[in-house]
């Protein structure tokens, strides 16, 4: 039985695209996910959920007051809803599956700030720009004269996709909204495409999924229609196009050649996708033997819709890595009158150590983050509702709530991190983990200060959770401290693993 909702079947989609009714030539080969044998065979999937502007640390924290000077952990499974911090309270119902990580630092940003201000050669040192560019790269930004700084290397969501992607499926998806600059980068200066329109994102999926509405046990195979033949020839068109790329690439200079070779590979990937769709899954595994139900409820606002789509894409194994950029909130959504400048009047005034602090701004910024916690909880609800091998999709995923900045006042430390789902048992969830200050920063206008371990090392853990244990660092391997000694950004973090 189908769920109610906005189900666009592939035939309607293709008809709308002017491609004719796209039913399958061999209807007996419908969507037949193969059955996973045990949870050990399940792929770990990853979602990077990114909200703007940072948090309000005292209203986010789940730690014991007065213990900031030590590394420690705290069991949060027994906490009541009221004992949860105001910002994280909406996540209380998922507390068994949460790992709240406090005290990490955006160390690579601090390293670049040092360079920017030491050299002072017209580099862009804007906190938003730097931290957006570093969030998923942990690497030097691309600084160009007369231009703002942007991502300077392939971001980790793309690299993860390269490593764990399945042929014929997407390596990675970037869904959601626009902050100032992109977070996800294909290469230095080249942002990854981000889909803003949920229905377009769904149409993309339907272009990849087999048509489930066909009967799976036909009695009489019908001869293909003209439209079906044309649809089937799309792979031949792609094959032809890819060969044209092969022909021209060797005639070009090295940079242009690499660009066309990358393009050629993407055409080949799409060709495999379409071929897999036509032959019914192409051997792709859908975890737990669950029937992939390509139904999109399309209910709620755009954020809810993207949460549904992310869940759909991961549960149908259309991709294993998704980056989800949250929508910037309207003032009225967190109780602030329209016309107030959220950035200038709320975020910048929200931390007690800031020069222009006001309690009202702190309260608004707290509410701002609580609303995002609700959105994050909604995504977790969706993922926890998909059964897989006796557990759920959420249990087999790593869902990370990242934010652009540490605080509304652009702090690079401490950075709030919430991991949900254990990644098939990699992370030991149901806990709050605090890292204390361990390194002296090389630079600050207010004098040097101490910071916790690099957030980049949490990303190393995520690589390891996905079986990529050869990865020892992401982005920069180290930056320099106050005395010119290296602060290492290598290796997974202690205290996180199960």
């Amino acid at each position: 039985m189908k769920k109610k909702g906005m189900k666009i079947d592939r035939r309607r989609f293709l008809t709308a695209m002017g491609l004719g009714a796209g039913s399958l030539y061999l209807p007996s080969m419908g969507w037949r996910p193969s059955k996973a044998k045990a949870s050990g065979d399940l792929p770990v999937r990853v979602v990077f959920f990114i909200t703007p502007h940072g948090t309000v640390p005292p209203n986010w924290n789940l730690g014991f007051p007065g213990m900031e000077g030590a590394d420690y952990e705290r069991d949060i499974t027994g906490l009541s809803e009221a004992e949860f911090s105001p910002i994280l309270r909406p996540l209380h119902r998922h507390r068994d599956r949460l790992l709240v990580v406090d005290g990490l630092s955006r160390t690579s940003v601090i390293g670049e700030e040092q360079r920017v201000f030491r050299d002072n050669i017209g580099h862009d040192g804007n906190g938003h720009h730097l931290m957006q560019a570093h969030l998923l790269t942990c690497n030097w930004t691309l600084q160009r004269s007369g231009s703002t700084c942007i991502g300077g290397s392939r971001s980790i969501d793309q690299v993860l996709g390269d490593r764990v992607g399945v042929p014929g499926r997407w390596a990675n998806r970037v869904y959601g909204y626009r902050h100032q600059h992109p977070y996800s980068w294909l290469a230095s200066g080249e942002p990854a495409a981000r889909e803003e329109d949920p229905s377009q994102a769904f149409r993309d999926m339907m272009g990849l999924l087999p048509d489930e509405s066909e009967p799976t046990e036909p009695t009489e195979p019908a001869p293909p229609t003209r439209e079906e033949l044309i649809d089937a020839a799309r792979t031949s068109v792609l094959d032809f196009a890819a060969q044209e790329f092969d022909r021209v690439a060797p005639r070009l200079g090295s940079e242009d050649r690499m660009k066309l070779e990358r393009h050629r590979q993407l055409i080949r990937d799409l060709e495999v996708s379409l071929a897999a769709r036509m032959s019914g899954g192409g051997g792709t595994t859908v975890p737990g033997g669950a029937t992939c139900d390509p139904t999109f409820a399309g209910s709620g606002g755009g954020m809810e819709q993207f949460a549904q789509l992310t869940t759909l894409a991961l549960s149908c194994d259309l991709t294993r890595v998704t980056t989800f950029v949250a929508r910037p909130l309207e003032n009225t959504e967190f109780g602030v009158p329209a016309g107030v400048n959220m950035h200038q009047d709320i975020a910048h005034n929200s931390t007690p150590d800031g020069a222009s602090y006001t309690p009202e701004a702190e309260a608004h910024m707290t509410e701002y983050n609580r609303v995002y916690a609700e959105q994050f909880a909604y995504l977790l609800d969706q993922m926890a509702s998909v059964p897989e091998a006796g557990e759920t999709l959420l249990d087999h995923s790593v869902v990370v709530w990242l934010t652009e900045l540490g605080t509304g006042t652009h702090h690079t430390y401490p950075i709030p991190n919430v991991i949900a789902g254990g990644g098939c048992g990699y992370f030991n969830t149901g806990r709050y983990v605090h890292f204390t200050e361990s390194a002296l920063t090389p630079f600050s206008w207010g004098g040097p200060f101490r910071i916790g371990p690099p957030q980049a090392r949490l990303y190393v853990d995520i690589f390891h959770a996905l079986g990529q244990t050869d990865v020892d660092y992401v982005g920069l391997p180290e930056v320099m401290d106050q005395d010119g000694n290296p602060i290492s950004m290598r290796g997974p973090l202690p205290m996180l693993r199960a």
Partner: protein, 558 residues
């Protein structure tokens, strides 16, 4: 950077200007600690090799392959098919970042999403080709002898923007025949069109045909595409193809003739608007909210009208005027949404030409799109407005603020004041470590204090008289001014501004950031622009007449 460029100028006149630039720099350097004027800041990769310009010598910058921008892709499809189906899938955004344009080759690569959307669009246009666009695609009927070959050759030439090579034609023809045999003639057309639209020759602008080893003379079809994508952001038309076929485009005079012809086409007007949308960021105002106490009628319609007015103004100045007109002309078009902000009578319907009040307005820097775009909700931002002048009209890089700079709009503390907007900003940037840069930034920005957050003219601010006086630094025409009109007059006569405008157009034409190798060519173009009195059409004429327009440097590894 500018002094690096200047130092290569030859002859008394240009050296004279170099002296100005260096003198300017000395005012900024001690304060800004090298943030401005560092030769390392040129181009990606810190290309700071010294370049020597010789009389009649050529120094060529790089010519990276450019993927079609979304605008170019859509325009090209429109011109290929005469029409396009509604509801095509959306394309991922092209990045527009400060200091560059959407056609920046570095950012124009493929992605999985784009490749998938292009595939869908190619198939949809294939269907369109045997439907409504049949006459634009097929030169013959299916029954006619040799129709497949004619279709592949003639439509293929327009898609690839050059005649197909023989083996290339044979490949498409073989593909066509295969599909015709498997399905039918129309399906073969549809699928062949889809294959052509996914060819690298269509999706990218590839230059590999020219003659030469290192300094390569482009072939005529490559020159035709350079012209058409510069002037129309689209493919060449038949007249331009004909000129390419006759081998005329290597002659500067022929390129000029073609340019002038093409500028008369409405597609050139679209390009001019698109350029100014990016250069002057005329869309910034679209996201701006205003407090109702100051601008009670501010609405989406107002924002749209402000953006549209700026683009119409820039468009008319480009075709009929000069840099001076851009900065000083009071000619405007307004509609009922915009007229009240300028204090002029609203037209009964639509848009109508007006002359704005002489005491209040002059040129683009006194228009609502700029004034209300570079502003906060309740007040104009002298800093944003000043940076706009510096970055977009003087081609100065934005200095780096300290990490802990307070960037909120300043407000009076309880029990203090009242203050004007200017006084609040002056207090904020008073510390020495701010003044090094803010003396210049705010020096420009305070010129606009006669305009409130919505761009309305005012003589008082918070009950006190407006102070819009200041001193311009770094303009090559420095000195005191009182208000935006006097500042605009200084800028209108500034060599630095005129050179900067030329640099922006040059960057747009190159599709990349400046490189040190561009120095000599840009210098010549700037000199010609000066000689032409800042006439924009002449600027483009000089650009396409240059020998470099018909040449490229061999790429690394080619």
């Amino acid at each position: 950077m500018r002094d690096a460029l200047r130092s290569f100028r030859r002859g008394g006149r240009t050296w004279g200007r170099a002296a100005i630039a260096v003198a300017t720099l000395s005012l900024l350097l001690p304060a800004c600690e090298g943030a401005i004027g560092d030769p390392e800041a040129i181009g990606p990769g810190g290309n700071d090799r010294p370049v020597v310009c010789e009389e009649g010598g050529l120094v060529l910058g790089s010519a990276p392959m450019r993927r079609l921008t979304n605008t170019e892709y859509r325009n090209t499809l429109r011109d290929l098919f005469g029409s396009t189906p509604a509801d095509l899938p959306t394309l991922p955004d092209d990045a527009l970042r400060e200091g560059t344009f959407e056609n920046d080759a570095l950012a124009l690569g493929p992605s999985d999403v784009r490749v998938q959307r292009w595939e869908q669009i190619s198939m949809a246009l294939g269907a369109h080709a045997v439907g409504p666009a049949r006459a634009n695609v097929l030169p013959c009927d299916a029954g006619e002898a040799d129709c497949a070959r004619r279709f592949v050759e003639e439509f293929g030439r327009r898609v690839m923007r050059r005649p197909l090579e023989n083996d290339e034609r044979d490949r498409y023809l073989a593909f066509f025949e295969e599909q015709r045999e498997a399905i039918d003639f129309d399906a073969a057309v549809q699928l062949t069109v889809a294959a052509m639209l996914q060819s690298p020759w269509f999706q990218y602008r590839i230059e590999v045909e020219g003659r030469g080893d290192y300094e390569i003379e482009l072939d005529d079809y490559e020159i035709a595409s350079r012209l058409s994508y510069l002037v129309w952001e689209s493919m060449p038309d038949e007249a331009l193809f004909a000129a390419a076929e006759s081998g005329d485009l290597s002659r500067p005079g022929e390129r000029e003739d073609q340019l002038r012809r093409m500028l008369d086409d409405p597609r050139a007007r679209d390009m001019v608007r698109n350029f100014h949308r990016q250069w002057l960021h005329t869309e910034r105002v679209l996201g701006e909210e205003k407090v109702p106490e100051i601008a009670p009628t501010w609405s989406d319609a107002t924002r749209q009208a402000a953006s549209e007015e700026a683009q119409r103004f820039a468009e008319s100045v480009f075709f009929e005027g000069t840099v001076e007109d851009l900065l000083l002309s009071r000619a405007a078009v307004v509609n009922a949404d915009l007229a009240p902000l300028y204090g002029v009578e609203a037209p009964a319907e639509g848009w109508a030409p007006v002359t704005l009040p002489a005491e209040e307005r002059a040129g683009i820097l006194t228009r609502v799109a700029f004034l209300a775009g570079e502003a906060h909700e309740a007040n104009g931002s002298p800093i944003l407005r000043g940076l706009h002048v510096m970055e977009r009209f003087l081609c100065l890089p934005r200095p780096t603020p300290p990490a802990d700079a307070n960037t909120t709009p300043p407000m009076a503390m309880e029990g203090e004041g009242p203050f004007t907007n200017r006084q609040l900003f002056e207090q904020r940037t008073a510390p020495d470590r701010c003044q090094g840069c803010h003396e210049t930034i705010d020096g420009f920005g305070f010129a606009f204090e006669h305009y409130d957050t919505a761009g309305q003219f005012r003589t008082t601010d918070n009950g006190m008289p407006v102070d819009a006086t200041g001193v311009a630094y770094g303009t090559g025409n420095d000195g005191e001014f009182d208000g935006a009109i006097e500042l605009s007059e200084r800028l209108a006569e500034s060599d630095v501004v005129r050179d900067c405008v030329a640099e922006k157009w040059f960057t747009y034409a190159q599709g990349r950031l400046l490189e040190s190798e561009d120095t000599c060519q840009l210098d010549e173009i700037q000199n010609a622009f000066e000689a032409a009195g800042g006439d924009f059409v002449q600027l483009l004429v000089e650009l396409v007449r240059r020998p470099e327009f018909a040449m490229r440097r061999a790429a690394e590894g080619e």
